[in-house]
Amino acid sequence: MQFIFDHISSVLVASVVLVIFAMLQLRGSQTLSETSIHQMVYSDALDAGAMLQRDLENMRTDSQTAEALTRGVLAGGAYSCAMTASGDTTLTLTFPTLADPDGVAALADPMDAPVQIVTYVLEAVGDSASVDKGTSIEYYPLYRLNRIVDGTFTGGTKGNVVHFNVGLSTQGSSVFNTGSAVCPSDLAKIRFELKTAIDGVTHVASDQRSVSQLNLSRFATTVDLTNWD
């Protein structure tokens, strides 16, 4: 009898151990997926932010763009600096910027640096990403942030964007205008916010549910337009 009981307890213990290892394996793979998704969504936000920040930091003024036109180094049309918005979402942002900021140092006259009119267009892709917030699941419509120069889509186009908001501020003001507007002549700062998301890990069971929200990432910054001072 003692022999049987010993075996029963061994079977029970072995079953418990197996279940625990199975749960660990499941949770481990889920975490791996969560962190990979977070890495992807984080780098998407950073890449899109860095691309926009670089263009904004090298933004040209009206007179600089006119000079570029005179010198024949302007691409993408005449001077244009404006944005359109719907609610707190920026739909388009157009401004002149240096085509190759790194190449300016090699030029004898920096004013010979090629300038291009770049347009960022937020385009709905007809899909959504869900973020599990514990008490509810929020669905974010997905957009693509297209970077267009002279009617051509450039390599900088970014996907997985769920929020894009740009604010323009004038000299001495701390208020950012996020509505549709033409760039004011005393534009001093531009602030932008980006949010990216990728669909998270599939809901397996309530106790294995991922509510980390790590499939959502944010990037925002304020660019001081020293060139415009």
Binding site: D6, V16, T31, H163, N165, S174, R218, A220, T222
Partner: protein, 175 residues
């Protein structure tokens, strides 16, 4: 009896592995949360430092000046950096020059993409040598460095997001 002890031993080892695994999962997620908080802290820092740099004078003696007629020796002594006169140490709205921020601390609420973050921020202002920025000079120079240390009020496990951002102001004759 022997097998029961062995079984209990196996359970204990399994439990230890489970706890370690859960801890490892938590650490990985913690890094993700901290990175998000750091992004928000950097956003706040960029905006605040830019605001300070554009709204305050280089030094008290420069406030209201219309031309550059100063030597480095005219600027605030190293020992006197910080709020002075009518400025209140806890009210940055009264600050009119850069070194007033030396020693200033504030708790701020920062909104980023509809998410709200709270940070504790402390500032340090020091003179630096324009030609050797890493050397702290013994007397006033024509360059001041503002350092903001931003720490998230929210803790993720036993960690907070910490970001240090710096801006240098150099006084020139382009008044």
């Amino acid at each position: 009896m022997q097998q029961t002890i062995l079984a209990l031993g196996a359970l204990m080892i399994t439990m230890m592995i489970t706890v370690n695994q859960q801890q490892s999962i938590f650490r990985v997620q913690q890094l993700g949360y901290i990175r998000e908080l750091e992004n928000a802290a950097m956003d706040f820092g960029a905006s605040r430092l830019e605001q300070i740099m554009n709204t305050t004078a280089f030094d008290e003696v420069v406030v209201g000046a219309t031309e550059m007629a100063f030597e480095a020796s005219d600027f605030t002594n190293l020992a006197q950096l910080g709020p002075d006169g009518a400025e209140h140490a806890d009210q940055f709205a009264t600050f009119d020059d850069l070194d007033d921020y030396d020693g200033f601390e504030e708790t701020v609420t920062h909104v980023m993409s509809a998410d709200t973050f709270r940070f504790q921020v402390s500032y340090v202002v020091e003179y630096i040598s324009p030609s050797s920025p890493n050397v702290v000079p013994g007397s006033p120079t024509m360059a001041k460095q503002l350092t903001a240390s931003i720490q998230s009020e929210t803790m993720v496990g036993d960690k907070r997001a910490n970001v240090v951002m710096k801006r240098v102001a150099i006084i020139t004759d382009s008044f």
